[in-house]
Every structure is written in C-alpha cells, then in structure tokens.
Symmetry: C2
Subunit: 285 residues, 2 copies
Amino acid sequence: MRIIRKTTEMAVWSQAERQQGQRIAFVATMGALHEGHLSLVREAKKRGNRVVVSIFVNPTQFAPAEDFAAYPRNFVRDRGLLETEGVDVLFHPAAEDIYPPGNQTHVEVKELSKILCGARRPGHFQGVATVVTKLFNVVRPDVAIFGEKDYQQLQIIRRLVRDLFLDVEIVGHPIVRESDGIAMSSRNEYLNADERKAARCLSRSLHRAECLVRRGETSAKAIAEAVVAELHNEPLAVVEYVTISDVETLEPLEQIRQSALLALSVTIGQARLIDNKVLLRSSGE
Amino acid sequence: MRIIRKTTEMAVWSQAERQQGQRIAFVATMGALHEGHLSLVREAKKRGNRVVVSIFVNPTQFAPAEDFAAYPRNFVRDRGLLETEGVDVLFHPAAEDIYPPGNQTHVEVKELSKILCGARRPGHFQGVATVVTKLFNVVRPDVAIFGEKDYQQLQIIRRLVRDLFLDVEIVGHPIVRESDGIAMSSRNEYLNADERKAARCLSRSLHRAECLVRRGETSAKAIAEAVVAELHNEPLAVVEYVTISDVETLEPLEQIRQSALLALSVTIGQARLIDNKVLLRSSGE
C-alpha cells in the first residue's frame, strides 16, 4: 500500500492510473476506522480495480465548540487495517495542503444543508461539501462510496455532484451495526460502558417506528412521537431531533406515502450520535 | 464548427478529444462578441489544438435590478464570427441544463468577491464562480483564457482553480481597446453618440495615473484623487469607485511599491462601465 501525503503526488498517481484504463474507487474517511468504514472499502474493491482511501480530519466541518481536537485519531492502527484490506493508496494530506495560505473558496449545497444536522451544526455541511469537492478533484475517482449512516451528507454529495457536473458515480452503502443494533461510529469511542448500553435506544426506536409502519401507521407525527417516547425511556439520552422527511430532498413529511427517511440525533454523555432508517410502506409484510 | 447545446453531449465530445491527446482551449463568453472576445479566441487557438467557446448569458450573475433581460444577444452574428475564427465547438447551453430543477449548489470565493465590483453587485461573483466551475467541469479544458478587463473576475477564477484543485491552466489576456482608448465591452452598445464620446474619460483617467506614477508618485490617495478629478471633468460620468489595490489579493494599498491595480467603475447613461490598469513603478521610464 502506497501512502501519499501531497495533493500533487496524489493527482499524478491518479492520472497515470486513469490513463492506463484503471477504474479508481474512493472512500473518504476521517480515520478512527471501524467495520463500517471497512465495509465501504470492500464495496470499493468490488467497484474499481484501484482503491484509494483518504484519512483527513477536516477542520472546517467542525464548529468552534465541537470535538475537532478530541476526535479519535489512530493512524498506525488505521494504516494496518487498510493494508490488510488490500487498499492501493492511503491518501493522508496535511491541512495546509488542502487549505493553503489565501484559500477562500467554499462550496455550499444550500437547502439540503439547512435542515436536520445542518440546523444544529452551522457551517458543518459547507465544510463537508468543500472538502469533498477538493478531494474529488485531487483523487479524480470514477466511483466514490459513502455510508448511509450520514444520510444527509450522502444526499448533499449526490446533489453537489449533479449540480457541479462532477464526473464521479456516488454509491451509498448500508449502515453497519454492532450485534446489539448500535450503528458503528468513531464517536462511539466517547461512550463509557453504561452509555454504550444506553445508546441502544437509537436503533431500538427506529425498530419501533418500522413496526408501526408495518402495522399501517402513515402519520409522521404519530411515528415521531412514538420514537421520542421510546428514546425518553432511556434516562441518559438527550434527544436533539427526530424527523421524518422525503428521502431525497429531506423536506419534512406529514404523511408517509411510499417511503420516508426517519432520522434522529441523540446526545449520550459526550457523544452526539446519529442514526436513521428508510421506512418503506410497500414492504409486503 | 459544431454547435452543442446539451451538457452531456459537450462532456462526451470533450472526453473523446482528450483521449485522443488533443489539448482543449476554452473561452467562456456571454455572447455579443467584439474584438476583445475574438482576441481571446485567437489566444486560445495558440494554446490548444481544439477550441471551445461558450455563449451563455448566466442569469445568476445578474442582481434582480440589473440588465439581464436587456443584455445584448445576437446569436446569429456571434456564430458567424466564431465560425470565421475557426472555432471547433460553440457550446450554447440552455439555462435549464446548467441549472436543472433542484439545483442548489453554489461556489463562492469569499474575500475576493466582497470588494470592488463585488461590494456593489451582491451575489455577482458567486454567480460567476458557480457557473465557471460548472462550465469547466462540463468542457474540461486544459487551458482557459479570460480577459483582463474583468480583472477581479480573473483573480477570482485563478483563486477558485487553485483552491478547488481544478485541473485547468488560467491565462489572462490584455484589454483590447478601440482606437480612441475605450475598452471593448458588450455594454458599450448601451451608449449613444454623446455617451460613447464621454466614455473616453475612463481610459484617459488611467493614462493620467500612469503619468503620475512615471513621475514618481507613490501615494495611492494622490493618484486616486487625480483619477477622480479627471473623471469629474466629464459631466456625463458618474463615478462608482476608483481603487488602488494589490494586484493579487485586491486589498487596498496606501503606497505603491512595485505594482498596483488601478480599477474603476463609472456609469454613463444606462451603461455601467469598468476599466483598469496595472501601474508599474519599475518601468525604467
């Protein structure tokens, strides 16, 4: 596995591979890798014959009061995991290379960035959209895989690619969960044993919503209330939002017709955790 | 000359040419072509072996009160001129193709967009940066030529390309002037005979500044005052701004050390006219 730190070197490598007809698949990460990331890497290996994984804890997507400094970093462990997966290039740029002196260009996906997590994390998705545009232009992948756990991020990237005519295929990959249902997240590292157990309430509440929809419930309000009630059963959980939205535009829905995104954000201890599920009415069950 | 209207067709043409090793040079215009544009096209022919010229009157770079509807359009004449110059592709997209339903992504070059024309035309340079990013990603040129008459626009595009790692070389091309010194502009069409004559005050005032610098004047304030005085000799001229700035960051200067950008905006009748000159101290004269 080659480790590349310079954007110029990354671009040269990528251009040479493309000219030889190789198909480049890309996974962008902030490191602190877990099985969720590795499932994206395995998907990338299926979809390209060269795999590039970036590790870059992007400062511009953290608000001043957020956990940029505390965000878990373990480069040696991450490198070993990616090597084992057979990744071709680990791209690990310095912040000064991604944001050189005088840098001042921002990319923003307006409406999609204002809602859900965007309403609570001002500037977050502008930071994401900008860094993803930069990484795409340096790595120039044919296909890029993003996890559905960050569902809003995935939709923002899809929109960005369409609007700016970026020549990359975006693939969403299902959430990977622990055996007890908790969605894998680097921020789970912030949880102590009690909090870890409490965090099960997120997936449990999604399951509750799924059962209601199966039984014929279509009112977004009724479903959201049931989810909030389920979360409130857990004393350590502080609910930030529970929303039921259009699966593409993420605009709030009142009634579920065919499908809807149930998304939630809950703080437990120091960890702000998110989870989601696409609710489908026509499941035939 | 091939005329392409669809972004998809443009991207396919461009990819095929690139794969055959052709070097694509690009000139982005809003039509109403004059000698200034044609000089960019001739420069493009020197720098690439395929030349693409776009004609797109970009709605998002006009503020609501500005002249989008009135902006001169003459496609048949423009097409003839480009054909004569030996252009390979005239790219003439529809607004709905550049801004499809749901489009919501914006590119902004922050600091550089706030000053000079940007301070008077809110949203203008966000419109420019966004459309240029889109056009670059569709046409994928190796090199793009922009006129120095829109000096601020040129610096914004240079910054954008650097910040977003776009793989295109940006070339600035000198202002083309009429025999009486007036900078060529599609907006000169708005001028009647008296106003046309009055518009000479712009280049005359730039010349005045140049003479002062040659004689050793280094105070930006003194030079700007002389320029404003020269402009005020013309009763039809309404001065919007006269600034002396760093040639790259466009930040205001108090003293001219080696070089400075003198930029001005003047309204005459219905026409908002801009002009500029890079003042050089070490001219040896």
